[in-house]
């Protein structure tokens, strides 16, 4: 059964603004999650410079033995990436949906400060619903 292990959102300067794990496989303590986030931010930036093709916007998919990492970067520099079971489908669509939830429940909250850690309950609730819906779709196949 395809599953998401964890979700990270990084701001344009590489700071982790949101982290959520789903199940024990993706769980990390705070320091480790911050480390992963800044590591990914740097790797993503380096990959843009190393890429042999012009106009490369960075790593979109990293496939490893025990996990896949899908990354979506908005044109404003905010990165959304999800660590999931190898072979999980439709992660790009999920990341796009999470981006839309971010623009709604985080950015439209006037009390949310830009680039700061996300502490928006509505975002959490809607995110859980989106992931659940995704799970149901995956299980239903």
């Amino acid at each position: 059964m395809a599953a998401i292990y964890s979700l990270y959102i990084i701001n344009k300067s590489g700071g982790l603004i949101f982290y959520k794990d789903y199940g024990s496989k993706g769980r990390m303590d705070t320091n480790d999650s911050l480390r992963v986030a800044s590591l990914w931010h740097s790797m993503h930036a380096i990959s843009q410079q190393l890429s042999p093709t012009t106009g490369c916007s960075g790593i979109e998919l990293l496939e490893a033995d025990t996990f896949d990492l899908h990354c979506f970067q908005s044109l404003t520099g905010t990165k959304f990436f999800v660590v999931c079971e190898p072979g999980t489908q439709h992660m790009e669509a999920l990341l796009k949906a999470i981006y839309e939830l971010y623009t709604d429940y985080v950015l439209k909250n006037p009390f949310y400060e830009m680039e700061m850690p996300i502490r928006c309950e509505l975002f959490d609730i809607n995110l859980t619903q989106a992931i659940q819906k995704d799970r149901v779709v995956l299980l239903g196949r």
């Binding site: 044109l75 404003t76 981006y99 839309e100 950015l107 439209k108 830009m114």
Partner: protein, 186 residues
Amino acid sequence: MAPAAPRSGDAIFASVERVNAELFTLTYGAIVRQLLTDLEEVEEVNKQLDQMGYNIGIRLIDEFLAKSNVSRCVDFKETAEVIAKVGFKMFLGVTASVTNWDADGTCCSIVLEDNPLVDFVELPDTCQGLYYCNILSGVIRGSLEMVSMKTEVTWIRDMLRGDDAYELQVKLLKQVPEEYPYKDDE
């Protein structure tokens, strides 16, 4: 998976929830009146409106990018077209056009056909220096700053001041791509 095609301004405008236009006009009018009462100086009010617009713009840009699926613009000309055709349509329901390109392609005018902010508004003599719609210039400036473009946005023509149309001049000052903290000489 193929990336989604960009959506037109009309399509997005039709799909979002709407609000009564008069409520919008009244709310904006109330904001301007309150700023005039609090700050008293017309220049200060212009600056505040621009700042408010900037704060809106930095958040609005992600909403715009998420809903419209536009890809990175190739040059500033495309940027201006996208702002006029998709942006203004999507958020204000107005059609805008881009004119008056300079030789470099870094400065243009966006002309608004109509403007829901100013329905029923007349400027009194005491507020002659006021740019009533200055929030729009801040919105454009804020949005473009979040996609690495530093711009200067000013009003060229303003119907409330007696001109025949609403014309914004958008000037690209510089492109500021993301700075990465890697220094070779450390």
